[in-house]
Every structure is written in C-alpha cells, then in structure tokens.
Amino acid sequence: MSSQRSFEPCASEADIISTVEFNHTGELLATGDKGGRVVIFQREPESKNAPHSQGEYDVYSTFQSHEPEFDYLKSLEIEEKINKIKWLPQQNAAHSLLSTNDKTIKLWKITERDKRPEGYNLKDEEGKLKDLSTVTSLQVPVLKPMDLMVEVSPRRVFANGHTYHINSISVNSDCETYMSADDLRINLWHLAITDRSFNIVDIKPANMEDLTEVITASEFHPHHCNLFVYSSSKGSLRLCDMRAAALCDKHSKLFEEPEDPSNRSFFSEIISSVSDVKFSHSGRYMLTRDYLTVKVWDLNMEARPIETYQVHDYLRSKLCSLYENDCIFDKFECAWNGSDSVIMTGAYNNFFRMFDRNTKRDVTLEASRESSKPRAVLKPRRVCVGGKRRRDDISVDSLDFTKKILHTAWHPAENIIAIAATNNLYIFQDKVNSEMH
C-alpha cells in the first residue's frame, strides 16, 4: 500500500482530528477537529500529465463549523469539538454535510463558483453604477471563468435537541431525515425542519440512580429507512424498527454476547462498551468495536457475533494501567471496505489493523512520517508479547499510548483509506490492488 502524503498543521490541541468521513462517491473527504473546524479534501482527477499524482487529495475548503459556547444556565462550557460529520447524498451540484458537536448539529452547503458574469449594462467593472448617459448600447453579460471559489454556508442549525452529549448522527436512506444520538436519547430530525425533532429512543431511567447503560453509537440501516441500530455501554446492540412504534424503546432485535467468565476483571464492563457500530454496505452485517476486539454481527443472529477479531489482546493484562491513564476510555472507530470483505480499526502507537474476512489474515500497519514518504510502501508491523522477538518488532511496553488512531475511514469504492493520527491525516492508497476483492 502506498502512501500519499500527510497533512500536518501545527501541533496544538485544537488541531487534533476528531472525525473523518468520505462522501458517497469518495471524491470528497471531510475531517473535523477539536477546534471546531472542518477541512474538506477533494480528490484530484487523474491526469495524464502527472501520472504520479493521480487521484491524490488536496484541500478543497476549510471553515469554522462550531464555536465554543457557554450554557449560562448550567454553567457549562460546550466544546466546539466536531464529534461527527456525515455527508448527505448529493442531489444537485452542491454538496451538503452535517456536522455536530456535543449539542448542536449544523447542515452546511458547499458550492463551487468558477464563473462570474461580466459585462453588465448598468454597473461597471467595480460594481459602481454607470452614468446612464454614457450607455449607448446594450450588451448581454457573459459568464467568464474565474478561479475556483468554494463557498460554504450554514443552511440549518439544529439546536437544543439534546440534554446530553451527542455521540453520533446518521442520515437516513430516505435522504429526508436523520437521527442524532446522545448518551440517553435518540432524536429523529427532518433535514428541512430545525425547530422540532422527534424523540425515538429514550433510555433515561426515572431515577438516575438506576442508570446502568448509555447509548454509545447509532446508525441507520443503509437500505431500510425504518431500521436503525444503537449500541450501548454494556456491549449490546439494539436494532429498532420505526414502524413498530413511535418510541422505539423496545428493540426489535437485541444483539449481545454473553460474557466470558474467565475474562472477568474489574474492567470487564469498560472493555465491553461498544465504541462504534457500522452497518456493512450490503446491510446484512454490523461491525462493532469494543476496547479489545472488533466483531462482525449477522442481523439474522442475535446470540453472538459471527466473527471476532482481536485488535490488541496483549493489552488485556494491562487494563489497570490503561485505566489509570484513561486510555481504557478511548473510543476507537471501525470501518468496512467497499466490498465488506476487509475491516479496519485503529490502535495505539499509531498502528491500525486490517482484517480480511475471507482469508482470515490480518495486518498491522503504522501511520507515521517515516513510513509514509510519498510512494512509500507500508511495512507490516508486529507487536511482540514475549517469546521470540523479531528484529523490527515492538514490544508491548514500548508502545506509545499517546499516539492513538481513533478515527479511520475507507473510501466507499476503492482501496483508499484515511487515517487520523492525532493532528495528522494520512491517506493511503493501494495502487496495486485498486480493485476490490
């Protein structure tokens, strides 16, 4: 797999990338960061002139999506960090995306302007009104090309829908509605209506002392506009059907795997919390990520996942330390490739892992500047857990837990992946195997 290049803004907390998302064609890649900014990259069309820069991503637009706010009633600051970005399916020349922080979702419209009219009758070049006596003939204004200008404007602001922190948004396949989920509730919005939303899931107990689990992620089914899934901190998934009731507190299907008693520890509950859930492109499967594993679930089987892959099981004996340094609370995302044959997720030390579901082979790769010179080929890495140690192996104790890859995205059709490593974005393309297997 060859690397493109990395985009490296100055290292500051605000530049930490907090979400990465390709649009539906893969032409655009949006990233959000802790400072509330959104940066959109566009893939350059392949050109014969520069065969080596075919299909690379360049910055397309940058805008400030969210600002820090202060809730005076609760004496709370609302972070401007972008938690999630979701693209809307493109319906005209403009692109639209939803971006959200902890409390407010915004719909942004991205348009291009590459022509401008020239030759007005009543205005001159600078826009000043002409003296009518000097106008002797009429001309038709013509559109002349200009430097491409990308304009981004906020079209909708969906505010005050959530008491708790929003953790996910998902656009429905009907292209008219979307849902937003916080720790305890999920709301359904219409893209055109900002002053109200419908609450479709509410797991807040009457007495907060009885709270045992929270919602950690949610997503609409890619094809069935009535189905959605949400994951919980207890490791369960609930598939809900909006046709069944207005309030989908009762699930249609509950997916959970019984805990392995031999693995019980103080931290069993934490590591079973699902940090991300993604439907496969086919809609038949779901992918979940918990602290140590990724699991593939078949929608037709609720009792247990059909596949479980260990991401970094060597951390199981280190949970106490990871609890101390808060790493155990890291929320890793997961991703499918376009053909649902390979799944990918991030880990520590800037490693990310890919699992081929068909061959059952897995690989660990590193997103680092050294390994990512342009056109460099990524070398598989290995973490050694005692026993025989090969030359380039990394030992568990020398892993850098501050370098974590929480956000990854896979191009919907090609073998191109975007990896967010703290404040750096890496884009890797598999030129050799650009066909999906």
Binding site: L73, E77, H165, D210, F329
Partner: protein, 311 residues
C-alpha cells in the same frame, strides 16, 4: 491481600477520576463517569468481601452508641494503607470475621497502626468505644480477646455494605484514653491530598450539571444531617457515621457512590436530592443483582449530602 490492595488502589484512582471530572471542559461525561462508577463498585465489593485481613479497614459490627462522640483528631486515613512495616506489626487474624450478620459500622482506621499492645489496651476500655477501636485494630486477633469488646475484630467483613459513616477517625477511645503505646491519631495521610470539601452545596440548584457526582441537596437538607438510627442495628449503635463525612472519609465516599449509584440504597434518601434534568451529575449504575449486603443501616444515609460534603 493483593486483591485488596489492588482494589483499594483502583478505588482511589476511581474517586480521583470522578473528582477531576468536575472541572472538565464541556461538562461531565456521563458515559465515562458511569464506567468509572462501575469499576468503583466492583473494586469496592472485592475490597469489602475479600476475606483477607483488612489491616486498616474492616467491617465493624457495633458502632459506638454515642452520637456525640467527637471526631477526635483528624479522621483516620482510610485512603492510605498502613506502611508495610507497621502492617507487619499486626498479627494477622487467622479467622475470618465471625460476625456475618453484624458488620455494619465501618470506621476509618487510623493510618498509623498501633502496636498490638496498644490494641489490647484499647480493648480494655472498650466498653464505650466498643468495637470501634477494636474494630479498627481488627487485624489484631483481638478476635480472641475481643469477646468483651463484643465485636468481631473482624477482618474484612463479609458485607460490603460499605463504610458507615461511623467513621471514628482515630483510635482514641472516648476520654482520650491512652494506654501505653497509645495510638496516636495520626492525621490521615490521605487528607492532605484531598481538597477540603465545602461543607455545603457549592452550586445553585439546577446548575449542578457541572458538579461532581452529587447534585445539590434540596435546600434545607444539611450535609450534616444525622441519619436515623436503624432499629435493627445489632447494638442499637448509632449510625453516627454520617457526620464524619465531612472529613472526606474515602471509605464512606465509596459506600455512598457505590451504593447509591447502584441502587442499593433506598431510592429517596431523606433530604431529597434534586434530580436535575440537566446533565446528570456523575455516574449511576444499578445492578440490583449484585447487592452484596442489604444492611439496612446504609439506607439512612443521605448519599447526596454526604457526597457533596466529601467533594
């Protein structure tokens, strides 16, 4: 024993996390605090149920009857295990606590272990102080001698009911009896590390979202409110524990957080705590199936006020 130390360490870490979460930008993260509270509860259960002798913390069955008993000296440090050397001085009790139903009052133990001799001295005058001192030195196999003290010097009590507020801070029996080698009420080592909690609700009602794990109690409920004595208590001992909370007894904190958030306590403690619709303050986990002990005493503690006090 190692489990106990590990559990204790985890408890301390967890409490620190909960405390620190108050100052986080963006408000309390409900998910993280819920997970921390689950860990806290697990650790607490292990800690309390581990039959290994608890050198500095054990369940005492009989709280002292005097409510007026002052918190003599700074509360004993529950937060720190006694120094290993001192620990070695403790003759390990061989038997697990023999009072199964009894253990309810748990007191903060002086972090400075006394020589066994002192313990015996205490024992003698135990009548008033009863189990407290005895309990405190539970590790001392006073069990044998404890007959008179009436309490199980019982190492770890089986019932993880949690530290009752009977937090006799220090070993000094009432009257300041100090026999040879009298235990000194050493200041809690942990106390210095913990910020002194404000005695009252520091925030307005409704604005408690950014607060620690405790909502403000309804106005009028004083953090110093004494819990009702529960008639079932073995020695009719007072649940005089609560007042000691203001010393920031970690043991009590754990019990408060663990219990109330897990629904072990009665749901509506007297004093009423405000259920803010706003951002929930802190984690709450309820797993009724995991109730280790349903000692009724704890129910009377107003968890929110004590928690607030502690923080």
């Amino acid at each position: 024993m190692e489990f106990k130390l590990e559990a204790h360490r985890i408890v301390s870490i967890s409490l620190g996390k909960i405390y620190n979460s108050r100052g986080q930008r963006g408000g309390i993260k409900l998910h993280k605090n819920l997970l921390v509270s689950l860990v806290l509860r697990s650790a607490r259960q292990v800690y309390l149920s581990d039959p290994c002798p608890g050198l500095y913390l054990a369940g005492s069955p009989v709280p002292p009857p005097q409510p007026g008993e002052p918190a003599a000296g700074p509360p004993a440090g529950w937060g720190e295990p006694p120094p290993p050397a001192a620990r070695a001085a403790w003759p390990e009790p061989e038997t697990p606590p023999e009072r199964p139903a009894g253990p309810d009052a748990r007191r903060a133990v002086d972090a400075e272990p006394a020589a066994p001799g002192a313990g015996d001295t205490l024992q003698g005058g135990e009548a008033a102080a009863t189990a407290e001192a005895a309990w405190r030195r539970a590790e001392v196999p006073r069990a044998a001698a404890a007959g008179g003290a009436g309490d199980p010097a019982g190492g770890a009590d089986v019932c993880p009911e949690g530290p009752r507020a009977a937090h006799r801070p220090c070993a000094c029996p009432p009257g300041g009896e100090a026999g040879p080698g009298a235990l000194s009420c050493a200041p809690r080592p942990a106390k210095d590390e913990r910020p002194v909690p404000p005695p009252g609700c520091p925030r307005k009602r409704g604005a408690a979202a950014g607060d620690g794990p405790a909502d403000c109690p309804a106005p009028g409920s004083s953090p110093l409110k004494k819990p009702r004595r529960h008639p079932e208590e073995p020695a009719g001992g007072a649940a005089a524990e609560e007042e000691e909370m203001e010393t920031g007894n970690v043991a009590n904190l754990i019990s408060i957080f663990g219990s109330s958030f897990s629904g072990l306590l009665r749901k509506s403690p007297a004093g009423g705590r405000e259920e803010a619709e706003a951002e929930e303050s802190g984690p709450e986990a309820a797993e009724p199936g995991q109730i280790c002990c349903d000692q009724p005493v704890l129910r009377d503690i107003n968890p929110w006020s004590t928690a607030i006090v502690a923080f």
